[in-house]
């Protein structure tokens, strides 16, 4: 039983069903075309990221990947798109067109005509957090609203997939059907940001054709040092506060999962928090590369499919973005049937 602070428990939120579109086409990292243009140091880092292959979409596009995931989640829950109360899209880092709406495009393709539809973003991988907060708020505020669909398609902002020295971006669509009850209860969510890092990584685009877009790090030593140590301090404090708020200690947490950036990044988180991450993090990292905001719940669902977790287990999910943002989710596993 979770004991909450005197302020009471957060409003109920649960993942009723989840689905992913993971492209079958996977490209070995050693065969990425951009590898030819990398110097020796970058090739060495790339080879040591712990990524064997990346999932590559061969023509669907972001909206269609998200749509496939949405249809999968709706089908698993037996919910019709017309009955969705809200559709929240975690927007692309680089949409296909400006001014237009990815959100209403997906709404139209799904036929979710009655859904309140809007987008969230601006925090990289951590943008999943505001999407879940919006869903929780909507479900708490409107008793007639029963389902919120959160969707995202992760695909690189640039022609290249390698973000030196961090990760290799893969492609995937994700859909989470959220309700007040479901097999994975989201007990709580804590999040912090520090705008001092807002453009640590960026893509300049206004003065150059798309073929020349590159992800550039403004300050590599700053990334490797200041943000790294700040991340340790922030996450340790957030975790301690999150557990305390629910009357839990480390022994009450059955597992931890994070986003999949690199083998070194996963080890960094383990050492920062003095925890061991679920092995599915490394397995999905090696298989798909980094899938942005889609990683953490894909890792959790993979662990559930592998029967690594049981009913009543509590799991902490960790998301970090260099913009910079830090987010922890505390979830509890309910009665489980594989829906992965």
């Amino acid at each position: 039983m979770v004991t909450t602070s005197p302020g009471g428990a957060p409003a109920p939120l649960a993942v009723r069903a989840a689905a992913w579109h993971l492209p079958e086409h996977r490209v070995p990292v050693g065969e990425l075309a951009e590898r030819e243009g990398l110097d020796r140091e970058r090739r060495t880092v790339l080879a040591g990221l712990g990524i064997d292959t990346v999932a590559v979409d061969t023509g669907l596009g972001a909206t269609a990947m998200a749509e496939r995931a949405c249809r999968g989640a709706l089908a698993r829950a037996g919910v019709a798109a017309q009955d969705l109360g809200a559709l929240v899209v975690v927007e692309s880092r680089a949409p296909e067109t400006l001014i237009s709406s990815e959100v209403t495009r997906l709404q139209a393709r799904l036929g979710a005509d009655r859904a309140l539809a809007f987008g969230v973003g601006g925090l990289g991988c951590v943008s999943l957090g505001p999407a879940l907060l919006a869903a929780r708020g909507l479900l708490a505020a409107d008793p007639d609203l029963h389902h919120v669909l959160v969707a995202h398609a992760s695909t690189p902002a640039t022609p290249g997939r390698y973000r030196h020295p961090v990760t290799v971006n893969g492609d995937a669509g994700q859909a989470l059907l959220l309700a007040r009850t479901g097999p994975v209860r989201i007990l709580d969510l804590v999040q912090e940001t520090n705008g001092a890092h807002w453009d640590l990584f960026r893509v300049d685009y206004r003065d150059r054709p798309w073929e020349q877009w590159r992800e550039e790090c403004r300050d590599l030593p700053g990334y490797s040092f200041r943000l790294a140590v700040e991340t340790r301090n922030r996450l340790a404090a957030l975790l301690a506060g999150l557990l305390k708020r629910h009357g839990l200690d480390r022994a009450d947490v059955a597992g931890y999962a994070s986003q999949n950036l690199s083998a070194g990044g996963l080890r960094f988180l383990e050492e920062s928090l003095d925890v061991e991450l679920l092995p599915e993090c490394r397995e999905n990292l090696a298989r798909y590369g980094h899938l942005g905001p889609n990683d953490v719940l894909l890792n959790l669902w993979t662990a559930l499919a592998n029967r690594r977790l049981a009913e009543g287990d509590r799991v902490v999910l960790v998301n970090v973005s260099p913009v910079a943002a830090w987010n922890l989710l505390l979830v509890e596993i309910g009665p489980w049937e594989s829906t992965a």
């Binding site: 490797s224 040092f225 070194g264």
Partner: protein, 93 residues
């Protein structure tokens, strides 16, 4: 070179798997990644009994062994490094 700087230099030499001079900027040489940063900060905190806070994380405080020693000395409340056996350790309990 202070005792603190000597100890830090020894740590750096082992962690980076190459000799490091007291005033050598190993970040500029591209030798540091986030795991190394974590190990370095944990070493400094545990060995010298201080807590590195976000406001201490200016890279300039950590660029060389000498600068880290100066940070440690400042944390201990004195201009000189090498007296870490006193207040810092006591603060750790």
């Amino acid at each position: 070179m202070t005792d603190t700087a000597i100890e830090i230099r020894e740590f750096l030499t082992v962690a980076l798997r190459r000799p490091v001079e007291p005033d050598e900027d190993y970040f500029a040489l591209g030798l540091a990644d986030s795991l190394f940063a974590l190990e370095l900060v944990v070493f400094v905190e545990e060995r010298f009994g201080i807590r590195i806070e976000v406001e201490d994380l200016e890279l300039d405080n950590f660029r060389t062994a000498e600068r880290i020693a100066a940070l440690v000395a400042g944390k201990h409340g004195g201009p000189a490094a090498g007296d870490e056996t006193g207040a810092g350790r006591a603060a750790r309990g």
